[in-house]
Amino acid sequence: MADPMRIRITLQGEVADVKVLIFHPMETGLRKDPVSGEIVPLHFIKHVIATHNGKAVIDAQWSQAVSRNPFLNFRVRGAKAGDKIGISWQDNLGESASIESTVG
């Protein structure tokens, strides 16, 4: 299991700027292990949902084209201090993680 996500939210007026670091190998399934020579299996985040006070604001389908340790940055309008921002992901091997943080 990778490190837990890191999240940082800054409020600029009524816009919350959300930065999320997700730690995940995001293997393309094309890479060979340098020691064994075996193909490193496909392992990538398939689905990402970001919520604002429980309501989905981002519903993304990712592929193995996204690089390792994806960095996600988005802005939510109509945010105020105390609002909850949640991020959750599931990958192709059934692993998942989520994080929640408060604006302001």
């Binding site: 490190d3 890191r6 940082r8 930065k19 670091l21 730690f23 390792r68 340790n69 960095f71």
Partner: protein
């Protein structure tokens, strides 16, 4: 010729003379830039790269590695002592004084050597200098305790001067199949293009290590020296060797007065 400048009429220039000549040389090349700007390396002449760097440094992707280093720093040894006990002010604002010349040892001591000395003196095994998962992340955190500190390298005894001169000689020596010296690129061609990259000047380089290349791959200063040696197809000296320690001593002195910032992003 650059080398002629620093060897005035056969008499070896003093370290302070070297440093001032280098600053004057780059002042000519880069114009009237504030000295502090040199810590950015080639980004000092590339505003777009600088903007991207600032953006990434707001939320560095390698933060998890630095935090692992923090855990290593804060975890007590088996005898109950901590790394912080080995340094003045719990390790804050010390890294800019390294390397220094230890008269009793007759060797240059780097910050990483001091970390290992702390382990050894407290009954623990020393870390391998090239091992990212131990010494790498440890120094990635420990050096950040000195962020903002101005480099303050001392060369004030005859023994120290000898080691400084040895490092300087290596800096200017052509090595490897490509027959290049550090100075060939980082003084003579600083600011010029090497393939698609702008070469950084030697001034300011020693202030900003370790770096995380592509935000992920940790390199201490001596690991970086090794990569450069490999790039000119020379066999690299081991990290922690006298050769690289002396080189780091000379190289760090040149950045005296510039602000330290550890664990930064590089492409």
């Amino acid at each position: 010729m650059v080398t002629a400048m620093l060897w005035v009429g056969g008499v070896l220039a003093s370290p302070e003379q070297d440093r001032l000549e280098i600053i004057a040389f780059f002042g000519n090349r880069f114009g009237d830039l504030p000295l502090d700007r040199y810590v950015l390396g080639s980004m000092m002449v590339n505003p777009d790269a600088r903007a991207q760097y600032d953006s990434i440094m707001e939320f560095p992707p390698f933060q998890a590695d630095v935090d692992r280093g923090r855990t290593l720093w804060e975890t007590p040894f088996r005898n109950g002592h901590h790394f912080a006990d080995c340094f003045p002010d719990r390790g804050r604002n010390v890294a800019g004084s390294y390397p220094y010349y230890d008269t009793s040892l007759g060797r240059v001591v780097t910050f990483e050597m001091a970390l290992n000395r702390c382990r050894r003196q407290n009954g623990e095994q020393e870390f391998t200098y090239e091992d990212r998962s131990t010494m790498g992340v440890l120094t990635a955190y420990a050096r950040t305790l000195s962020d903002g500190m101005r480099m303050d390298i001392r060369v004030d005894t005859p023994g120290a001067l000898k080691k400084y001169e040895a490092g300087k000689a290596l800096y200017f020596r052509r090595i490897g199949q490509m027959n290049l010296a550090c100075a060939s690129c980082h003084i003579a061609h600083a600011g010029h293009y090497f393939r698609d990259e702008i070469i950084s000047p030697t001034l300011g380089q020693a202030t900003h290590f370790p770096v995380f290349r592509a935000g992920e791959y940790l390199y201490t200063l001596q690991m970086r020296y090794q990569r450069c040696m490999e790039a000119v197809r020379a066999v690299p000296f081991p990290a922690g060797s006298e050769e690289l320690n002396d080189l780091e001593y000379f190289h760090s002195y040149l950045s005296n007065g510039l602000p330290l910032r550890a664990s930064v992003y590089r492409k």
